[in-house]
Amino acid sequence: MKKISRATAVIIATCLATLPSIAFAADEISGADTAWIMTSTALVLMMTLPGLALFYGGLVRVKNVLSIFMQCFAIAGVVSILWVLFVYSLAFGDGGSANAWIGGFGKAFFAGIGRDAPFGTLPESVFSMFQLTFAIITPALIVGGFAERMRFSAMLAFSIIWLIVVYAPITHWVWGGGWLQQMGLLDFAGGTVVHITAGVSALVAALVLGRRSGFPKTPMPPHNLTLTVAGAGMLWVGWFGFNGGSALAANSDAGMAIFVTHLSASAGATMWMLMEWLKFGKPSTLGIVTGMVAGLGTITPASGFVGPMGGIVIGLLAGFICFNATQIIKQKLHIDDSLDVFPVHGVGGMLGTFLAGIFVSSQLGVFSGAGLAEGMTMAKQVGVQITGILATGFWAGVITWLTLKMLDAVMGIRVTAEDESQGLDIAEHEERGYII
């Protein structure tokens, strides 16, 4: 019990910080915590640029590699500007009477926040910048669902609307003092906020946009797995900042979060390798890195709450379940969620959010975690977790569907068949990846 107080202190602090209280009046900025969160910020930015860009870029056909890069960079640019203008305020500001649902405009333009204003033990600039890197990677993850066929302009419009209507409120619900946080949802680093929202939205986008022409008959193998592997390595490393940084401090919570994150990635990779070995006779590089990402996505919500052996179990389950999910979505249902965002991130996020409610328990022997919060039972916690999964998945799915339908009517979301066959690099950006 004592332990959970530490593990959740951060979350409670975050919550309080959004209230117009004087709770932090006496807070001091900690150099160590600041150093660590600035480092984590760099690591999480590296996850998207160049990490995810390379990971995804290698998976598409050679004619679309730049379109992936372009989408990742454009999202980073536009999201960052909107973040300062008002999205940070919507996510982490005080929403007054609507605070259960959404923050207000009090922090718009980052105005009125002193250079030295503390947020917990961090300068608020550092907290806001750290969170911004999460707001960048989440819409960038969705790109994998509609890769190789969406118009660039429509992609940009979609990402902007999605950021404001899906990402900002859900972040507020879970981390900004909103209803899910009040309810006690355990989501340390973004199982719901990042992975479920991205995974579900990618699935919906894949369905609304339709399959790539030729799918599933024509093979569409990755054009350059060296990029994918380079990106995978950066994702693994960067995730230490993603989960470790979510402790918002350089302490043992951060340290344990990194440890379990690493172990889950390892277990996910190993399990996926074994599944392929058993099922197809040979394990593949693409498989092992996919298992790694599944392990990473799945541990994310649980990373601040579970112990090393819990982390391994979560990773093994991630490898097993996400592997099967991938087979079902693409090979059985023939849904062209092109880069498997839903089966890996969506399913992983759900699984991890669920398992966080279990492996947090301090009653599981060597598999114990930090312990449930005072007054919580495992059953009650799991109920909260399921509520969180359903609420965030539902909201993300519905808004994505509505937004894309609306955009399709207004501007068209899919490139012409000719542009698709020529490739988005030439058709949308007039350049080619390689001239070798």
Partner: protein
């Protein structure tokens, strides 16, 4: 003059070149090609999606020689490129009516 075109296994290129060198053929042109034939390709698997690669990487070698040398060149290539396993490739012979060496403008046999 004749153009000898041989489709061979890529790792045999060096042997064939050496063998041709020995019979005093020094000029030739090689191209990387994809061969389809009796020899079968392989399967690749990406996240469970099967992808049958039915072509095999081959090298096409083109050698222009005087008519009287054509048979010797054919034999030389055939024996140097042979492994006895399926997919060793083919040699085609066709006629060339004229040859020019660009550098000097020399024509026909002189240009080879």
């Amino acid at each position: 003059m004749k153009l000898i075109t041989a489709i061979i296994k890529p790792f045999k290129l060096d042997d064939v070149r050496a063998a041709l060198h020995d019979i005093d053929v020094q000029g030739m042109t090689a191209t990387e090609v994809k061969g389809f034939g009796r020899q079968k390709g392989h399967t690749e698997l990406y996240r469970g999606a099967e992808y049958i690669v039915d072509f095999l990487p081959k090298v096409k070698l083109e050698v222009a020689v005087s008519a009287d040398k054509a048979d010797e060149v054919m034999e030389t290539i055939a024996s140097a490129a042979r492994t006895g396993k399926i997919g060793d490739g083919k040699i085609f012979v066709s006629n060339i009516e004229a040859v020019v060496r660009i550098r000097t403008g020399e024509k026909d046999e002189d240009a080879l």
